[in-house]
């Protein structure tokens, strides 16, 4: 593996992890939004607050990681993508800001009316953010981000691949979140919640699976380079995602919530990795290859040092935190 590919892989690993952890966070907005009125929805919202409260800031840093790795490792392509995709990037950013702030505010809101306002902002922006990030992925994957000049401000992200990408992103987030929330509710002994969350997760999961595979058809026409990768090199990953996705649904249907978390993560991870492998070796499809976009070797080595340090310094406490939040002890407390 070349130095460039190693850094690109580390960058892309960040994308996958953000999609998983950040995704599970974002997806909870769907259940928050559809939880019903103040009284009826209180239990679900309390559960969501409880589940993502301790972890959302840490999950969110993965996005920072991705951005920093990108602009440091592949500076020109970062500038190009930001230049063309300014609108979806800005909208996603808006969503992130509103969501984080509203989530923190809701917890301590002075009145129920204000809490409802913050709650609605939180939930709605949890859905639009993955959508716009999905359109960004679609724009890059369909070769609509030129390397040097500015691409079209609108059609670069309002096109079939982008829109399907956005839909896949929203669906995957909701699917992940549903699986985790159901498991959390089950562990907490909230049978009433489990019943409703389980039902909704099954529907969301089936719909998302359908969207992922339906998206292949427009992508074949709209993004030939990506399509060639998806049906060639990345085909096994797509197959795995179908398999693990179906297994997840079966496990949830069979009320086996804890193992369903694992297969759900695998399903989403393989969809995202499928995209990455599908467009390899392009960084910006049809425009810039990974090897041609990279920064100076000294910088790349520096980045790999940071990644290694992260493995030592960040992973252990992160695992500790995630373990605590997923432990029965914290759930019951």
């Amino acid at each position: 593996m070349t130095l460039e590919t190693a850094v690109a892989a580390a960058l892309f690993a960040g994308v996958v992890i953000y999609a998983l952890f950040g995704g599970a966070d974002f997806g909870s907005g769907f259940y928050d939004l559809t939880a019903g009125g103040t009284r009826r929805g209180a239990a679900v919202r309390t559960l969501i607050d409880h589940s993502i409260g301790p972890v959302w800031e840490a999950n969110h840093v993965w996005l920072i990681y991705v951005l920093v790795m990108w602009w440091t490792g592949f500076p020109a392509s970062f500038a190009a993508a930001m230049n063309t995709l300014i609108l979806p990037m800005f909208l996603a950013l808006l969503g992130i800001v509103l969501r984080g702030a509203a989530f923190a505010f809701r917890k301590f809101a002075p009145t129920v009316t204000q809490a409802r306002l913050y709650g609605a902002i939180f939930a709605a922006s949890s859905l639009i953010t993955p959508f716009f990030l999905g359109t960004v992925a679609g724009a890059i994957a369909s070769g609509r981000v030129p390397a040097t000049r500015r691409g079209d401000l609108w059609t670069s992200w309002l096109n079939p691949t982008s829109l399907w990408g956005g839909a896949i992103a929203v669906g995957s987030c909701a699917f992940l979140a549903g699986t985790f929330l159901t498991a959390d509710a089950y562990r907490g002994g909230r049978i009433d919640l489990v019943t409703s969350l389980r039902r909704r997760t099954l529907v969301v999961g089936a719909a998302t699976g359908a969207v992922v595979f339906a998206a292949l058809i427009p992508i074949l026409r709209d993004a030939p380079t990506l399509a060639a990768g998806l049906t060639g090199r990345a085909a096994p990953l797509i197959a795995i995602s179908g398999l693990t996705g179906a297994t997840t649904l079966a496990l949830i249907a069979a009320r086996r919530y804890q193992p369903a978390r694992v297969t759900a993560v695998l399903a989403v991870a393989s969809v995202i990795s499928g995209w990455g492998l599908g467009q390899y070796p392009w960084l910006l499809v049809d425009e810039v290859r990974i090897d041609d976009a990279a920064a100076a070797p000294a910088t790349l080595i520096g980045l790999l040092v940071v990644v290694a340090l992260a493995g030592i310094v960040v992973l252990p406490p992160l695992v500790y935190l995630l373990k605590l939040t997923q432990s029965a002890d914290w759930t019951h407390h």
């Binding site: 103040t38 309390t46 607050d49 500038a79 190009a80 993508a81 800001v97 809490a115 406490p317």
Partner: protein, 449 residues
């Protein structure tokens, strides 16, 4: 960008300085069995949850903006200046993880271990801010690359991370963070005392942050002075603007106040020779005048000068104020019973914030027209986005909204605490219990150890 940074940096200061203060209060609570201190730590932790959350999202805004607004900077120098940002990201990770552990650990992690969660948080805030500041210091004194025919070559990103200007600039910012957070928090309790609440809770809540702020205020002028000494070499145009030096004079006077109007200095108070002594540490070395600098390389003089001198003025004032306070205390006089002293204590926080913002304006505007001093002009770094003002307006609206939201929430927290509700009720419904009898307690209920 300046707007986002100016806003972010206030919250970031809380991320840098507050964990240390919470640590002291919490430590007293646990090891000295001081319930008042423990209560303070608990409340501060809840407030910090709100502040850190908006601090984190405003930082995210910056990460995006670096690309959205400065394609010329990031596209060309991203590979040079990126490494410190990568380390910054690393420390945010640590900070965010331990923040989660600390905030949700009340009553769940054994008390002594729980207390330790603050240590990595405090350390990460410091490391993180060092990393960002090193980028800013690098923009002032670029190193770690060569420009050959417009191409950036020989990149050494480590030289950026450890560039010679970073340590001092960081020290100054770090101290500033302790000052503003210390004064702001102390000011809240001073306001309480002004309303007659003189209990131990208020006294301790005032004293702990004030100790931090005082230490900062006492060393800050020295750090700032040392920081200033390097500017004569590094950025003569900036120093000329700071000192409003129109011509090179030896020795140079210190110009207090004053504005440059039509090339003439007006309304200033000149103290002979002091300029050379302060800016150059010498009785004769001159401050290089603006006459030696090409007009295209001049920063906006008046903004830079006024911002710089106001910062120094506020710094001197705060220095004198805390010196007076501790001196009086040493002589057995408690200034807390003096209403004017309390009023000043309330004002000190906003003054500190003002000084910090002015300091940034002085550094940044004083570096104009360069972004990367001597290498990249601001004009070439910015994107040519015709709609950029929409982004600016949107950012301003957003920040106003966030500020109002945060103020409302914090005020209501304080009001409910005063009303004796230690555990704030669940915001999700009038009776969130109604949804299920066996509901596990929310984390708010769990916070009472």
């Amino acid at each position: 960008m300046a707007l986002s940074l100016g806003w972010h940096i206030i919250l970031a200061s809380f991320g840098v300085a507050w964990p240390a203060m919470i640590l002291v209060a919490h430590w007293r609570g646990v090891y000295r069995r001081d319930d008042v201190a423990l209560g303070l730590a608990q409340r501060w932790a809840k407030v910090s949850a709100v502040l850190f959350a908006i601090g984190a999202v405003s930082g995210t805004v910056l990460s995006f903006e670096m690309g959205l607004l400065w394609p010329g900077l990031m596209g060309r120098y991203g590979g040079v200046l990126g490494l410190p940002f990568a380390f910054e990201g690393l420390s945010f990770f640590v900070e965010a993880i331990f923040l989660g552990l600390y905030l949700y650990g009340w009553g769940r992690i054994p008390p002594r271990r729980h207390l330790l969660m603050l240590v990595p948080m405090a350390a990460a805030g410091v490391v993180g801010s060092y990393c960002v500041i090193s980028v800013n210091a690098w923009m002032n004194m670029p190193v770690g690359f060569r420009l050959v025919d417009g191409q950036v070559v020989d990149v050494n990103p480590w030289a950026v991370l450890f560039n010679p200007g970073a340590i001092l600039q960081f020290a100054h910012m770090w101290v500033a963070a302790y000052m503003i957070v210390g004064f702001l928090v102390a000011g809240v309790y001073a306001a309480g005392m002004l309303r007659g609440r003189y209990d131990r809770h208020h006294r301790l809540g005032f004293t702990i942050p004030l100790v931090f702020a005082s230490a900062g205020a006492l060393v800050q002028p020295l750090v700032g002075h040392v920081l200033g000494l390097r500017i004569a070499e590094a950025q003569p145009a900036k120093l000329a603007a700071f000192e409003l030096a129109t011509d090179t004079e030896s020795p140079s006077p210190l110009r207090l106040g004053g504005l440059l109007i039509n090339g003439q200095v007006r309304y200033s108070l000149d103290i002979p020779s002091l300029g050379s002594i302060i800016a150059r540490n010498s009785f004769t070395a001159p401050v290089q005048g603006l006459d030696t600098i090409a007009p295209t390389d001049e920063p906006p003089i008046n903004i830079t000068h006024v911002a710089f001198q106001s910062m120094v003025g506020i710094g001197t004032l705060l220095f004198l104020a805390v010196a007076l306070y501790w001196f009086a205390r040493w002589r057995g006089r408690d200034l807390l019973s003096n209403r004017w002293a309390l009023r000043f204590a309330v004002l000190a926080g906003p003054l500190g914030v003002l000084a910090m913002e002015l300091g940034w304006v002085a550094t940044e505007v004083g570096r104009q027209p360069w972004v990367v001093y001597g290498y990249l002009r601001t004009r070439d770094a910015a994107g040519d986005n015709p709609q950029i003002w929409i982004l600016l307006v949107a950012t301003a609206v957003l920040y106003t909204g966030l500020t109002i939201g945060a103020a409302l929430v914090l005020r209501s927290m304080a009001r409910r605490w005063r009303a004796g509700e230690e555990d704030l009720p669940s915001p999700y419904g009038p009776q969130s219990d109604a949804a299920g009898g066996s509901r596990p307690p929310t984390d708010r209920e769990a916070t009472t150890p």
